[in-house]
């Protein structure tokens, strides 16, 4: 298998946009292609992520539309859908296409547009990522899914609503430093704790927002990369899965797929959790970040809440988590999120993250969770 590197990244401003999702992707992809310093025609394939376009834009066949909008109508495309892990899954397929020798340069990424529909419609479409017969039918929303996980974690380990609130406060503080973030505004612990319940015990400020946005990554084979000083290597990229049914999860307070993906990614890369200098991980809800920091091996099971409270995951802490502001403050355009997380880690490892730079970061981790914890992708990236 050939080694694969990221040679270009591009991310739109996250927030509300008055344009289609493929236009958002094309803007991000143009930025990534310029960043990679290649000609557009060098791109040989596109793995494209989008989740709700059939509902929010009445648009399917998104892959060729994205390529056409970009001005590369003849490259082969594959649309990937893996709920919120969509474009991280697309990334993994792009890596495999290059590692296997099929292509030398591949574009991956995705986009989402949901702020053009009412909140209750977007809530319904996101719920399509859980099972229709056993879960959606109960009126279970995504905040509801993570509320069930949060309650189980609180009962098991004594995690508190205040500890969860610390995750929101920290990620908003980081978001202030990211000019592309949807929210570039600090929030107080009191404001989080005073915000209304969406799905008990999760409150409004425990939840990431609905977001429009696009993100893109240019991948290249080692032969192409040779002379590029800013190339960042893919040390591992792993997908893991678990049952679609929340009722079948062995322990609701854990995400088994995160633990499996992390274990295999560390092994593939020859790294341990202690080697990770910076991480972008899936904080769709504050509890999700706490559970992920445990599952990825940064903290012992049950101590993720304490780590958040003590500031260990803050910029300047033991293991800076979500310097971009995370899904919570940067925003969560679900089809673009994985690629945007990869973009942030690449920017960090290049030492180009400005005010939110983790000094000397040489190994970074990206964790993206799909839907009701049935899909998880973990990638490790490095300067060497």
């Amino acid at each position: 298998m050939r080694r694969v590197a990221v040679i270009g990244v591009g991310i739109t401003r996250f927030g509300k946009h008055d344009c289609t999702s493929t236009e958002l992707f094309a803007a991000a992809a143009a930025e990534a292609i310029a960043d990679a310093d290649i000609a557009p025609r060098d791109v040989q394939a596109l793995y494209y992520g989008n989740v709700t376009g059939g509902e929010t834009e009445r648009q399917l066949h998104m892959g060729p539309l994205a390529a056409t909008t970009l001005g590369l109508p003849t490259i082969p495309t594959t649309r990937v859908e893996a709920a919120c892990a969509t474009s991280h899954a697309a990334f993994r397929h792009g890596v495999m296409e290059i590692a296997s020798g099929v292509s030398d340069v591949v574009l991956v990424g995705g986009a989402e547009r949901v702020l053009n529909v009412p909140t209750d419609a977007a809530t319904e479409y996101f719920a399509y990522c859980s099972d229709a017969s056993y879960e959606q039918s109960l009126g279970l929303t995504f905040p509801g899914v993570f509320a069930l996980i949060a309650r189980a974690h609180m009962e098991r380990y004594g995690t508190t609503e205040e500890q969860m609130a610390h995750v929101a406060v920290k990620n908003h503080r980081h978001g202030v430093l990211n000019p592309k973030a949807q929210f570039q505004k600090e929030i107080s612990l009191e404001a989080v704790l005073r915000s209304p319940y969406v799905a008990d015990p999760l409150k409004l400020y425990d939840c990431c927002p609905f977001t429009d946005g696009g993100a893109a990554v240019v991948l290249a084979a080692e032969e192409v990369v040779k002379k590029r000083r800013r190339a960042i290597w893919v040390l591992a990229t792993v997908a893991a899965a678990d049952t679609m049914f929340l009722s079948e999860k062995r322990d609701l307070w854990r995400v088994a797929a995160t633990e499996r993906a992390a274990l295999r990614a560390y092994r593939q890369a020859g790294k341990t959790p202690a080697d990770v200098d910076v991480a972008e991980l899936h904080d769709c809800f504050t509890i999700a970040e706490i559970v992920a920091t445990e599952g990825l091996g940064f903290f012992e099971p049950g101590s993720g809440g304490i780590a958040a409270e003590k500031g260990w995951t803050s910029l300047g802490g033991k293991i800076p988590v979500n310097p971009s502001g995370g899904l919570k403050a940067k925003g969560h355009p679900i089809g673009a999120t994985g690629a945007a997380q990869i973009g942030e880690i690449v920017t960090q490892l290049r030492g180009e993250a400005g005010a939110r730079q983790v000094d000397g970061a040489s190994t970074g981790l990206v964790h993206t969770l799909g839907g009701n914890t049935a899909t998880v992708l973990v990638s490790l990236l490095g300067r060497e």
């Binding site: 209750d120 319904e124 056993y134 109960l138 009126g139 929303t141 905040p143 009962e155």
Partner: protein, 126 residues
């Protein structure tokens, strides 16, 4: 072709009639709910239907206050995770249980919730 012992449709036909039906692997004895083709434990495909009593305890719960489209008149409502006496778990809507009385460890009993053409799983007081 083997016919499925319990299909999604037959499961909810049973639910509507007040019955909870799981499947038991005749090789390893493992219980499964919802139904599936292969036994996750022993990989065999020899199931038999098994009636579940419907009693269990709440292991997690949430109160949905911001509902998806079309469900505003029902909100707020509670979704519970229930571990049944037989050891398998199931999600359901809490019925006839005051929201403030919900807690983990609460004993509950299955009951169908039928509205219009849709049947969902509910759990009421034991």
């Amino acid at each position: 072709m083997n016919e499925r012992v319990v299909t999604l449709k037959s499961f909810f036909v049973d639910v509507r009639a007040g019955r909870l039906t799981g499947i038991r692997c005749t090789q390893c004895g493992g219980l499964a709910l919802p139904p599936k083709e292969f036994c996750p434990t022993c990989q065999r495909r020899q199931w038999e239907p098994v009636s579940l009593h419907g009693s269990g305890i709440v292991t997690s719960f949430t109160v949905i206050r911001i509902p998806p489209r079309g469900r505003a008149p029902e909100a707020p409502y509670a979704v519970v995770v229930v571990k049944l006496d037989e050891g398998v778990s199931l999600l359901g809507r809490a019925v006839d249980i005051p929201l403030e009385a919900l807690q983990t460890g609460l004993s509950v009993k299955f009951r169908p919730v039928v509205a219009n053409d849709q049947t969902i799983i509910g759990f009421g007081p034991a």
